[in-house]
């Protein structure tokens, strides 16, 4: 995705990508950002458009803040001349934007198809080659009823009770997370995340390796195994929580999701697994869409705080750049806070931009600092360089599949007041109509020098929980040994994902990704294994082709 010129404002309506949550309850999609054509839309002064974007969010705090025109310098050099002119783009441009968003979305759909398919592939291949994951003999703590009775009615209430227990754990964990987040206990959340990913990357991976070797009858001595595990796990921890190439990070996230799905398939009794799938998609629907839904609160809180929400737990199809490149060293005195006003101004305004636009997404490209100030410019680039290498997507999950994300910066809270004051000044200046002229804090100044365009990419984000439960569905379907069911589930899930993304493009808000896909998947899974499979078996046994 070579989207080089999205002004920071284009992401304005981006739905918050908070993710989060518990055992995959955090499935959310972030809609593809609108893409604005750089030449056509005179971005500056397009009050209407921005306000419309803002209006897309019904997030109160955001709406309360009048937008501040702070624009990416890299996108429209001619902006300068048109200063504060109000030439809102007409509806046609709005449509154009939507089309652009859809077009952009089509690529991102594929960018999600590939990892989702890969994750499912890992799970299905494992299920079919390692019989260990096929049979349930040990059970999770959360599923006290083991469905051992042959009676369907007993199995049914066992499954319902199990899934109820599991779901209440999920709900409690989600609420706990939100409380922690509200109270700004970032360290706790971060520690939780790291601990969980540590366990997954070491303990569960070790179990996986052991079963893999056993299935293929490969002998391996402990030193070698320890060496492999150490390298694999440490590389994973680093790439997930710290620096790492994007591909590596994505690979680890996919693997971790697949591992978690395998754990669910292995340790959940059969009917319980299906009941949990149904329950979690309903929970997802409630948590994301209902007015007081926990995930929704999470999104709104993060928007309010102007944070990267939980960048963790989200598979991002592209690099997320951030100018808050130092977030992993919160104690370190930030250069932004200590350096000259002009410099601090630049970072502040980028945040302000974000805030005013309600965009949780990292405004990349630094949403531009003031290029006129060479020093600030330089610093900005440094920051961006640092940010480039630093994936914000982290991942964590505890034993029972709860995943949490963290990765907030603490610096913003440090100079919160500072920012608020500055923003107010900016807002006032904007309202007074001549924002550009008004005060030193404005960053609307046009670039004297073209800022080098940074690769700006904003992808659709999919919660890792989605990966997990899609894979659970497909893996569970394939554990019955029928490939047609597996393929039917796979196609149904992809179509469901497509529809979700379509809705995302239409509604432009964070959406739960599980309900449609899982519903389709469940319908096709049961219909195929009950009705289609006998038909197809009959046909293929007699070599009849339809």
């Amino acid at each position: 995705m070579d989207e080089h010129d999205v002004p920071s404002s284009s992401a304005a309506a981006a739905a918050a990508d908070v993710d989060d949550s518990q055992s995959g309850a955090a499935e959310r999609l972030e809609r593809p950002p609108r893409r604005q054509q750089k030449q056509k839309i005179s971005n500056y002064g397009s009050n209407e458009q921005l306000e419309r974007n803002n209006a897309d969010h019904t997030d109160g705090p955001v709406l309360a803040v009048p937008y501040v025109v702070v624009r990416g310098t890299n996108s429209q050099p001619p902006r300068l001349s048109a200063g504060g002119a109000d030439g809102g783009p007409g509806p046609s441009q709005q449509e154009l934007e939507e089309e652009q968003g859809l077009k952009y979305g089509a690529q991102h759909v594929i960018k999600l198809f590939v990892p989702v398919s890969l994750c499912m592939l890992v799970v299905v291949a494992t299920i079919n080659s390692i019989s260990f994951y096929n049979s349930t003999d040990v059970y999770l703590l959360y599923t006290p009823f083991h469905e051992l009775s042959p009676e369907p009615s007993v199995k049914l209430w066992n499954a319902l009770a199990n899934s109820l227990i599991l779901m209440s754990v999920v709900v409690v964990m989600t609420i706990l997370l939100i409380v922690l987040y509200k109270k700004r206990c970032y360290r706790v959340i971060h520690g939780w995340l790291i601990l969980s990913s540590f366990m997954l990357l070491f303990i569960f991976t070790y179990l996986y390796l052991e079963e893999l070797l056993r299935a293929y009858n490969i002998p391996m001595d402990y030193p070698t195994a320890v060496l492999i595990m150490w390298n694999f796990g440490v590389a994973g921890m680093m790439s997930i929580h710290w620096h790492g190439p994007l591909r590596l990070q994505q690979g680890y996230l996919i693997f971790v999701a697949a591992l978690m799905a395998l754990v669910f398939i292995k340790y959940l009794p059969e009917w319980t697994a299906w009941a949990v799938l149904a329950a979690i998609s309903i929970w997802d629907l409630i948590a994301v869409l209902s007015p007081r839904g926990p995930l929704r609160i999470l999104v709104e809180t993060a928007q309010e705080r102007n944070e990267q929400i939980f960048p963790a737990l989200i598979y991002s199809s592209t690099v997320i750049y951030t100018y808050m490149g130092t977030h992993y060293t919160p104690e370190q005195p930030l250069p932004t806070a200590t350096s000259s006003p002009s410099y601090s101004n630049s970072t502040t305004t980028t945040r302000t931009t974000q805030n005013s636009l309600a965009s949780p997404e990292p405004a990349t490209g630094g949403s531009t600092a003031r290029p006129g100030n060479s020093r600030a410019h330089q610093r900005q680039q440094e920051t961006q360089a640092a940010a480039e290498g630093m994936p914000l997507v982290t991942f964590k999950r505890n034993l029972h599949g709860n995943e949490e994300a963290a990765g907030f910066t603490q610096e913003w809270s440090a100079n919160l007041n500072d920012r608020v004051a500055r923003r107010q000044i900016e807002v006032q200046s904007t309202q007074s109509g001549n924002g550009r002229l008004s005060n030193e804090y404005r960053t609307v100044t046009a670039p004297d020098q073209p800022q080098p365009e940074l690769p700006e990419e904003r992808g659709i984000k999919l919660g890792l929980g989605d990966f997990i439960f899609y894979s659970v569905l497909v893996g569970k379907a394939s554990s019955y040994g029928d490939w047609t069911t597996t393929i039917a589930c796979f196609v149904a899930i992809l179509i469901g994902l497509c529809l979700t993304l379509l809705l995302l493009a239409v509604w432009r808000k964070a959406l739960p990704a599980l309900p449609i896909s899982i519903t389709f998947g469940l319908i096709f899974c049961f219909a195929t294994s009950a009705v289609v499979k006998p038909f197809m078996e009959n046909l293929s046994a007699k070599q009849v082709f339809i």
């Binding site: 089509a106 393929i487 293929s540 007699k542």
Partner: protein, 239 residues
Amino acid sequence: MTLPELFGCTFIAFGPPFALFVFSIANDPVRIIILIAAAFFWLLSLLLSSLLWFAVVPLRDVLAFGVVFSVLFQECFRYIIYRILRSTEQGLHAVAEDTRITENKHILAYVSGLGFGIISGMFALVNVLADMSGPGTMGLKGGTDLFFMTSAAQALSIILLHTFWSIIFFNAFDTNNYLHIGYVVVTHLFVSLLTLLNADALYWATLLPNYIVTILTGVLAFKVAGGSGRSFKRFVMCR
């Protein structure tokens, strides 16, 4: 021997469609989505025909009944996806990076036909392939050892036929050419019913006519899509 057989049959059946996918579909996100959507519609048609087959208990052993209705359902869904694609053409035009997809209407037909074909071939063959990997094989005690090979070859012809049928079918509805619509339905019925003979291991009686039909349909689809003898010659000569 089972593993080579597995790979051989997989490549016979899915090699050409895979090549088609890689070279003509994979580069365009919109085409991939349409391919998967077409596969989904085929699944729906299969679901309906299976439900019918399942519901009519007395006729469950009479496969011809199931086959006829399955073919009719598939053609209905081909028509449905035709309607959907044509009605969303405007949107597609806006969405597609590659404007050829709407300028050349046959591309949509081709993509959806390939989607139909691939999913149909997969459903017909994938469980057979799974059994093929061993440990047992066909033909040692009864049955014929040609079973796997002929299944794979038949699946390939069905995949290609679906692609050709869609091209002809879409164009026929665009131009109100009822002859072509009839041709598609009749040949589909013919090919499917002919495969009923496979149960008696009459492979030459099924494969040969089916491949003849495949080639004829391919030629017709080529003509419908605007090809001619001269353009074919030019294509072969790489000019």
